[in-house]
Amino acid sequence: MSSDKLAIGASQDAAQIPSRAAAGAPKRGRASETTPRRTTSRTATDGSIPSTSTRALHGEMSGPELRWAADASGETGSFSGFLEQLSGSLGLGIVLAREDGRVVQANHIIARDFPGVFTGGRQFSEALDEASVVDLHSFSFLAGPAGEEIARRVLHGGTLRRQLGESASRKHFSHFFFPVAWGSESLHAHCLLSIQPEKQLFDAYRSNLEQLTSMSEVIDLFFESMSSGDVINLILVAVTASQGFGFNRAFFLEVTGDHLMGRLGIGPADAEEAHRIWSRLADSDITLRETLNLFSRAGGPPDLATQRLVRLISLPLEEDAAAGNEGESRILRACRDRRPVRVTGSSTSSPIDRNLFGMLGTDALAVVPLSVQDRLAGVLLADNFITGRTITQDDLHLLKTFAGYAAMALERSHLHDELTRHLEKLRRANHDLQTHQQRLLQAEKLSALGKMAACVSHEIRNPLVAIGGLTRSVLSDWSGSDDSREALEIVVGEVERLERFLNETLTFVRPTTRAHEPVDLVEIVSGVLHTFRDEIQRRNIRLQVELPAEPVRMSADPDLLRGALSNLIRNAQDALRSKGRMRVRLEVRSGLVEISVGDTGPGIPEELRHLIFEPFYTSKDDGTGIGLAITQQNIRNLGGNITLEDDEEYSTLFKIRLPLGTLTVDRSRE
């Protein structure tokens, strides 16, 4: 069959060709041998094209009424004249070409539609290119590989063109060809049939398909969008994106109380910006989802001017009755009717509408109410203020379908938002509860510590006062040996130390307002360090002291600070035992004094770091566990705070921060 030139190879498409009669021809064997009308055919033609196919054509057409009169003479016309007539009445352009593709001749339709293009001797495919012909389908009557091979050779040097041109200047033709014999020569008859209407239908179909695809993508995205912010973002992106509904601008108005308030807008501010954005987008092959992700990451659309504009929109939902029917707002009417409409500047006399048109600088708006179960959630406004493209009925129809999904997604997102808020509230409440529980626990510990300390303090203080007081009394009029005086003085000193300790403990239990006095912090730090100097030297600890050269003055209770510093330095000294480094530093920075005490001892294990300020917690064998608790209390009473810092050089680094300004005792901290 592949070698059979007459066989009809293009299956169904072949039925469309004018030579429908060919279907009547035998499909196997040479027609010249099988057809009984061979003779007739010969007489019917002028002999110039004794082709099997023309005979077949003729065969169908023959009969008494087919005595065609090609001219006034009444003589039977030539076959080529017949073909001209036939193809002319069908609007079919025919080009005869040799097997090597060179054009032999073309009929008058071709001459009319493509003047000077399909000239004799020219390559058919070349001429086809020049004619800007775009074929919806090319097919040959030859089936199988041989037909395809010919098609390849004849058309475009190997490519069967099936593309649809986008340019309006291209002409859309259906192209098919079949072999004919011209005497001893084999020719191809290429037929070109205009398919412009079909092309338009096809385009419409394709555009519908694209819209459906976009809609389906948008719906998918609606399902993924959770918060109302995301949903509104998506609505506006879908309405304005070229992969969506392709409007220039879109605004979302939200029902807030008895008003429609502008919430979010998207789109360029003016033609210049539009050009900039659209030309950039034209180069990128970005999907709707990607655009959306881009906005989500940026926290919303980047159109700042449009954002400002939308914030200005505020429409009352209930119209002033005085407006009457004349001045009734068509926008608000659409909202009441829950029906999308197109409103133009000239179609409304309502001051509300006109005001909005003026504000947005547009003269036509698509107004799409979003409602769920008749409850209005918001309104979508869209326009083409840059391109001026008319908003069509089709646009409204699509937007209506879209609005249904959008409203549902919006409703769901509101529920989601509410749930999220409640969840967050619960989470916070839970967190507060835990914090309070911890504070309560701490308070209980402090209270227990207080009771114990008060009791112990009383039992010890009285004897101490007696010992110390009487010793002082004895010393005051001492006339004995200097050696004994020194011993008595030591007793007085030690008693003093114990009393100081008790004072600190009692202070911790019940902090009292003490008078603040002007002090020099540098002096205090130096003084405290001085009391440790001997011990530090004895233990071979390398001490680094960094103090400002100038005095750092503030109003404070020096005893509180001395107590805190002594504790920190004693701890550092105990941690180092007999080696390592200690650093004490005082710095002033932006209204704060930072005093840090660091040591290179073993450090505090990560899991214990949160416990160190707890009363009764200690890592020392002989510790009371109240040192750091007292230190923290003292610093808080000074209006500052103390933290354990992470530091690369010092395994343990405490930092005290004190405000240089006001230093009143903040009792609310207790």
Binding site: N462, P463, A466, L470, R472, S473, S476, L506
Partner: protein, 122 residues
């Protein structure tokens, strides 16, 4: 010579105050509890009372209110091992509130000041 009544349940404490305040030139009488203090105030009519708070039986604050009912002219210095009673409104009626210390400098100066103020008032 001004007469000072020391009320403290601990004998060593009484001894200390007696010894030290006598050195300052005051006449010292003592009481070992609240009840005794009240009696001594009535009988001896001191110029100043130095009162401990924590005493067995009637505590210092109670004693003070009883004494003040009879004689609201008597200056009183509270001398306690606790600083926490400072906040008690009862203690506000005292002329001074001191936390006990082996260093009696503050007590001595307070005694002098209170006595001086009172003599000015009278």
């Amino acid at each position: 010579m001004k007469k000072i009544l020391i009320a403290d349940d601990e004998v060593s404490m009484r001894k200390l105050y007696e010894r030290e305040l006598a050195k300052e030139g005051y006449e010292i009488i003592t009481a070992s509890n609240g009840k005794e203090a009240m009696e001594k105030v009535r009988q001896e009519i001191p110029d100043l009372l130095v009162l401990d708070i924590r005493m067995p039986g009637m505590d210092g604050l109670h004693t003070m209110s009883c004494i003040l009912e009879e004689n609201d002219e008597l200056p009183i210095i509270i001398n306690s091992a606790y600083s926490s009673y400072k906040d008690s409104f009862m203690s506000w009626t005292a002329d001074a509130y001191l936390v006990k210390s082996s260093d009696l400098t503050e007590l001595k100066s307070t005694v002098a000041t209170v006595l001086e103020n009172r003599s000015v008032c009278l």
